[in-house]
């Protein structure tokens, strides 16, 4: 089982979906001459769950920042396919929860709406809805420090989803959590994605997480950062714990770790 081709999953249509954004020859060079990204071509398809895997320092985070508009490419183009080529609504989930420690959970989640000037009543309704979706309905009045790491991360996801974004960028969001919490949050994230059909670009170090979540994986290599390979994982959703122990899962995990190993090995001579 290679996982290439059409597949039979409920999300198989994603493979042929129109692109949301296309990166053409995107390069990002730092002031000291280091090339964080070199000539990256990547297409992010509408509604897909794309996971980017690669060794540390391969420019995964830089790629997300460029897509988010937090940084500008030194060369190349990022072309949005939405109306007028404008950047759509983007939600960003960082490596750490990055909640405001002085503000209650409801205020934290409401922040993007407050900054956009959404009227309070509408914003409060959206916040209550977002907190309920990440199973934090009873914690609106809590301060971040009163919650566990996993709960803080869920609040961070609620904040990213409260604006109903078209695109959700996630930069190793569960990397600091223990394995059990991570698996539970992976499953919760998948059910949110299945229910709402936003597009996700997810960066991770974990092979298993990548295979479990994604409709498609992309492997990056370091120095300079570039996309080595990308392919579809055409397994049906919803995916559950049974999928984690299936032969299809094992085969994909093996293929992915082999390519990531290539990426790590290829990195050295390039330096």
């Amino acid at each position: 089982m290679t996982g290439d081709g059409g597949g039979d999953g409920s999300r198989a249509a994603v493979a042929t979906a129109p692109p949301l954004v296309e990166l053409h020859g995107v390069t990002r060079t730092y002031a000291n001459g280091t090339r964080a990204l070199a000539d990256v071509d990547l297409e992010i398809r509408r509604g897909e769950f794309l996971t980017i895997v690669g060794p540390s320092g391969c420019g995964k985070s830089t790629l997300l920042n460029l897509v988010a508009g937090l940084a500008q490419p030194s060369a190349g183009r990022i072309r949005w396919q939405a109306a007028g080529g404008a950047r759509p609504h983007i939600g960003f989930v960082f490596q750490s929860p990055t909640l405001m420690p002085w503000a209650r959970l409801s205020t934290n989640v409401r922040l993007p709406l407050d900054l956009a000037g959404v009227p309070r009543a509408a914003a409060d309704a959206a916040v209550a809805d977002a907190l309920a979706r990440v199973k934090l309905a009873g914690f609106a009045r809590h301060l971040p420090r009163e919650l566990s790491g996993g709960m803080q991360m869920r609040a961070s996801i609620a904040r990213a989803l409260v604006t109903a974004p078209d695109l959700l960028l996630m930069d190793e969001p569960f990397g600091a959590l223990d394995e059990f919490t991570r698996q539970r949050l992976d499953a919760e994230l998948l059910s949110l994605w299945l229910a709402q059909r936003f597009t996700v670009v997810f960066v991770t170090h974990s092979i298993h997480e990548a295979v479990f979540l994604s409709t498609r994986v992309a492997v990056m290599a370091a120095r300079p950062g570039r996309i080595l390979d990308a392919w579809d994982i055409a397994q049906p959703y919803p995916r559950d714990d049974a999928f984690r122990v299936s032969t299809a899962f094992a085969a994909q995990a093996q293929r992915l770790s082999a390519r990531v190993a290539d990426a790590g090995a290829g990195a050295l001579p390039d330096e």
Binding site: N65, A68, G69, L70, I90, F92, F94, Q95, S96, T98, M100, P101, W102, A103, L111, P112, D114, L115, A116, L143, P144, R145
Partner: protein, 267 residues
Amino acid sequence: MSDAAILRGRWLRVLAPVLVAIVMLAAWQALVTVNQVPAYLVPSPLRVLHTLYADRALLFASLAVTLGVALSALVLAVVAGVAIALVFAQSRWIEMSLFPYAILLQVTPIVAIAPLIIIWVHDTRAALVLCAVVVAIFPIISNTTLGLRSVDRGLANLFRLSQATRWQTLWRLRVPSALPYFFGGLRIASGLALIGAVVAEFVAGTGGESAGLAYQILLAGIQLNIPRLFAALVLIAGAGVAMFAATVGLSRLALARWHESELPRDE
């Protein structure tokens, strides 16, 4: 730790310094009494206490003057210092151009500037307050500027991603982030404001109606009224401790819910 142990620890924190004070004062009293040291050299603690009571009208009127100068100076230093820090935080260029002068103000001894200020400013009280402001303002400026810059990178990115205005970023992100730093500066400034007030009074040497504690010390020294000198010293020290405690309380009120520095240690 058990609850009893925590309680014992809390009591010890209060009890231990009080015990030290009692032992020291008793030893002082005993040494002075046994050796029959005259009061114009070293007065006994009881004698100081007695003077504090006997001269209470004079001393507490002076305390009110000095405390008034120090508190006005602290309030002015906070208002002006925060305003200057907000300007500094707007751009690196402004900060780079002006910060050296803030340092210059800090390193020049107040005793050297005070005579000039007292000559230039006709109203004595205003001159005293100004001297104390000059001494107290620096920690407010430098700490608040640092705090306004010490914003979590992720949160800053989030604000940029949400296209927050400069004003929104300042008010909703930078000001709350700066609060712990500001209160750190305020604690230092509270002590400095009092020192500034006392030093300025020494230089000005104002007597009469507006005589502060420094003037009482000066006068008592000349008259060899050493018990009164000690009594005035006790009042200045007490005032300093009270101002410090007030800023600590204020800081706790503002930060207790969320900042590491004010969270209960036992948690």
